[in-house]
Symmetry: C2
Subunit: 556 residues, 2 copies
């Protein structure tokens, strides 16, 4: 059973033939023909999520996990706008999302009809492809629609991945059914790929081989890197590899705590840290400190990226190497043979070890606080867990601890918003067989309260909320901390607790306000059945001081 | 004290001099210079609201009440997108809103920096004016900024009101202060208005005077109509005035329950109801039935509107009369003298009385249900209350009961979304001295749970949630009701209760599940201190049948 509308039939036929498996539906009337046609399709799994902001991020989380397109379907009007945040995040995170917005027929827009806004190109530059489908069932219109639907699929899956948007005008009657029969034609162009020439590869390898200090910085979306290749390159005596947790590409020869290393060295000491050649793989660097440091020193920068040709993070980009990070490292592992005597790798790995010792010493006597809580959390997380890191202080705290190689780290670092971290984690966990832990700050958690409002809560999701009473990050950075408008303009002090959220949705809830309770709480959380929440209360007015003392001790 | 940034100083100086009094701040870092400069300004009241979707609608509610611009200020990134729904609603509701989005400097957009998206023109056609301010403090840049800020104020206040957007790039450091001294120049062009010529007015009056059946349909945003003028015109023997509640322009000579009247007459009887001349005042008609009926009969249609020149709701617009509804009715009250013998007014007023009797009879024996609950609610609301009607079934049920002339009726009928009804009501009530009652369905209420998440809850707000277990409206319309995908695609069945929301935010809570409890609940609600909530549980699977029986009885 499906709608008798040809544009809907073509839409569903082409997307499903192309491989679409998961469709998130926000209940509504105008989108009914699309919703029930997907719902009745045997090859599609549908999820009903009423809050469209949540639905968008939920779909993004699914897509983040399966690395394939997930569709979201909504009715007309402001519903579409509520997808905006997730669409922007998907764009900068390069995650494929197919946004299907039902609309009134074009001729009725801005004519006083309810639930109609300007949906044509509503997401602006935040989608990789947009088309306004036609309603007519004549031959020209169907040829147009079929072509556009095929284009949309390609645009979100080939090379630079990301969200695409199809706006679908639907006239009444919306509830006339037809049998599912015809299959619209799928058009797949062959995926033509350029390869680098042999001489290019040789030149790149030669330059790396002969440079005294080569830094390779690996960040988000590089998680298909081959570990053996990475290990081999990272062990070279003239190469220092830095990896952020979101790269999911750690190596024992690499440094995973960038901020900790930078805080543990004086400005003078860091002058030896500046590479001659910087190579970046992946995008959206978390560490502000490394960005600031490398921007302020002249160096040669190569960016490895198939799509973004002019991502000039350090304002001194020399070239973009237009391949993916996996291929790049594979070639380098094969070709690079250091030809010079360099202490770069050895020196900084030893520094890292020394700072790691200081880190452990400070932590041993640290009072209960945000910083201390993360030590206990990260140690207690079961093996082979997937972590979803909330924005914004959570992800920063996590970078101060060595990456665990058995964990995988994810987060919405495309635009780093706080608005959909929980929804993303829920969508992600739902398709995942591993235990998934969201670690969230209180503000991000309350912001996304409705993330739990549906029937699809995954039993493998364990949520940890670090509740420091509201927006503690603004006590850490110097400007707001000295402002007497702190409460009103920056922080969000509150008495809310995640307990209400747990009760609202009938979820098991645990809490902790000191080390012992936290240890017990973590045990209980991971032993509990189903999606459950552990809330950790930390001292709002002390967290920033603990962190400042920690940084001071690293320097001492 | 204010920021030392010239673009921020000019922004605040011009907006405050122009009359801006209320600023809603979403806490963040990039917007800090704007936030603390407003915060420290003695003539401005600031409100801190963390969820930007809520903040946008909260500001809209304030603006809906004071009928003057309210500003919202947010940080960069997806924060801005969360204003989207409120901006679209403000656009179609014609409510002035000044959206101020802080941004990274233009040269850093799409360069992998956190919290940066394409904010330039992000709201597309949903704002009446957009400008990207400059950061430079040179003379040309300041001249440009000052001009654009003045233009923005004008664009949202003169004639066609609505939202405007200024995107404000701000470089670090963000926390350097200066004394407040300089006042940037305010430029106000005189508000030049065209008046209709004497001959135009005479012609219009003559045509109305000599037409047998003139229908005047008054809808949203017509609420400045002079009651005496309306009474005089509405009493004419050839004129039938229909008013929707959102017009706040009722008259004893007018019909306020359009759907009830249409349901109470057969198709044949309604042929006598079709006017020769239809005049519409205001926009966004709630009644789908009147739209469908009048579209299907040839008639002459004049639309009275200062701004929308081609709002052709019935696909047979003859002309737009480019004045506001108040002036139009004043002129008609002065000039129209019916010159023909017409029974149009008398006949339909009598029919209305007969149907009103049937309505009362059916209600007397109606079981407890959504429909019945509205009778009790509307009778119990204290005198001189302002009503905020939630979308979408609530506003439709309310239209079935005679408008109370001591009440004022509001709702987000610009785009009729469910996403911000509570937030709008809270902002509205906060600046209002009258008691304000939000009546909301359960889905809209849960959708906007975060509406209560801030320190500005108005003690004069009484919230009534009609909880029918999830999206009952889809059981009323025929298509979805017969679909076996009802749960997944249309309704949002749930076990949530507003009690959790009340507990989450520490609000008094009452509940009712039958007539007696409802009467008691309403008494308790209006007697309680502060912002409080009454939740009414109605039978999910019976509400639609009760309503269908009601309509059948009107026809009988």
């Amino acid at each position: 059973m499906q709608s008798n509308k040809e544009n809907v039939q073509d839409l569903i036929s082409i997307l499903v033939q192309s491989g679409l498996k998961h469709v998130v539906i926000s209940p509504g009337s105008r989108n009914a023909p699309i919703s029930y046609s997907f719902y009745h399709h045997p090859e599609v799994e549908c999820y009903s999520i009423p809050d469209e902001r949540v639905a968008g991020y939920f779909a993004l989380g699914m897509s983040q996990f399966i690395k394939a397109p997930v569709a979201v379907v909504c009715t007309s009007g402001t519903a579409a706008y509520n997808y905006g945040p997730a669409v922007a995040e998907a764009f900068f995170q390069k995650t494929p999302l197919i946004v299907l917005t039902a609309d009134r027929p074009e001729e009725w827009i801005a004519q006083g009809e309810g639930q109609s806004i300007f949906q044509n190109e509503i997401f602006g530059k935040h989608v990789r492809f947009f088309a306004q489908l036609k309603e007519s069932s004549d031959k020209q219109a169907r040829w147009f629609n079929q072509r556009k639907i095929n284009e949309a699929w390609e645009a979100c899956t080939l090379r630079t991945r990301g969200p695409v948007h199809l706006n679908i005008p639907l006239n009444e009657p919306l509830y006339d059914y037809a049998d599912r029969i015809e299959q619209a034609p799928v058009k797949r162009t062959m995926d033509m790929q350029h390869a680098l020439s042999e001489s290019n590869w040789a030149l790149i390898a030669k330059q790396i081989s002969s440079t005294e200090k080569v830094m390779i910085l690996i960040t988000q979306n590089a998680d298909l890197v081959n570990p053996e290749d990475l290990d081999k390159v990272a062990a070279l005596n003239n190469v220092l590899v830095l990896t952020e947790s979101t790269s999911n590409a750690s190596s024992e020869h690499a440094i995973t705590c960038i901020d900790r290393l930078l805080e543990g060295n004086s400005k003078e000491e860091l002058s030896g840290f500046i590479p001659d050649l910087l190579i970046t793989i992946g995008h959206n660097i978390i560490s502000k400190k490394i960005k600031a440091l490398l921007r302020s020193h002249p160096l040669k920068h190569w960016h490895v990226d198939e799509s973004d040709r002019f991502l000039d993070t350090f304002q001194q980009l020399e070239t973009t190497i237009p391949v993916n990070g996996k291929d790049f490292l594979a070639q380098m592992a094969l070709r690079v043979e250091t030809t010079i005597n360099s202490k770069y790798h050895q020196f900084w790995m030893l520094r890292e070890k020394a700072i790691q010792k200081k880190h452990s010493a400070v932590l041993a006597s640290m009072p209960f606080s945000d910083m201390k809580a993360f030590e206990l959390i990260l140690a207690a997380i079961p093996e082979q867990t997937d972590l979803q890191m909330g924005n914004s202080s959570v992800v920063r705290y996590i970078q101060l601890y060595n990456s665990r190689r058995d964990l995988r780290y994810y987060g919405n670092r495309g635009t780093s918003g706080i608005d959909g971290c929980t929804s993303t984690a829920i969508g992600f966990a739902l398709l995942n067989e591993r235990v998934t832990s969201l670690i969230s700050g209180d503000i991000a958690f309350f912001y996304d309260h409705n993330a739990f409002w549906h029937e699809h809560l995954p039993s493998n999701l364990k949520v940890i909320v670090v509740n420091n009473g509201g927006g503690g990050i603004f006590r850490i950075i110097p400007g707001p901390a000295s402002s007497n408008a702190l409460d009103a303009c920056f922080e969000t002090p509150h008495q809310r607790s995640a307990k209400s959220t747990a009760e609202d949705f009938g979820l098991p809830y645990f809490s902790a306000e000191n080390e012992e309770e936290l240890a017990e709480g973590l045990r209980a959380l991971y032993a509990s059945d189903g999606c459950s929440i552990l809330e950790i209360f930390t001292p709002r007015l002390e967290n920033d001081q603990v962190l400042h003392r920690y940084f001071a001790a690293l320097k001492a």
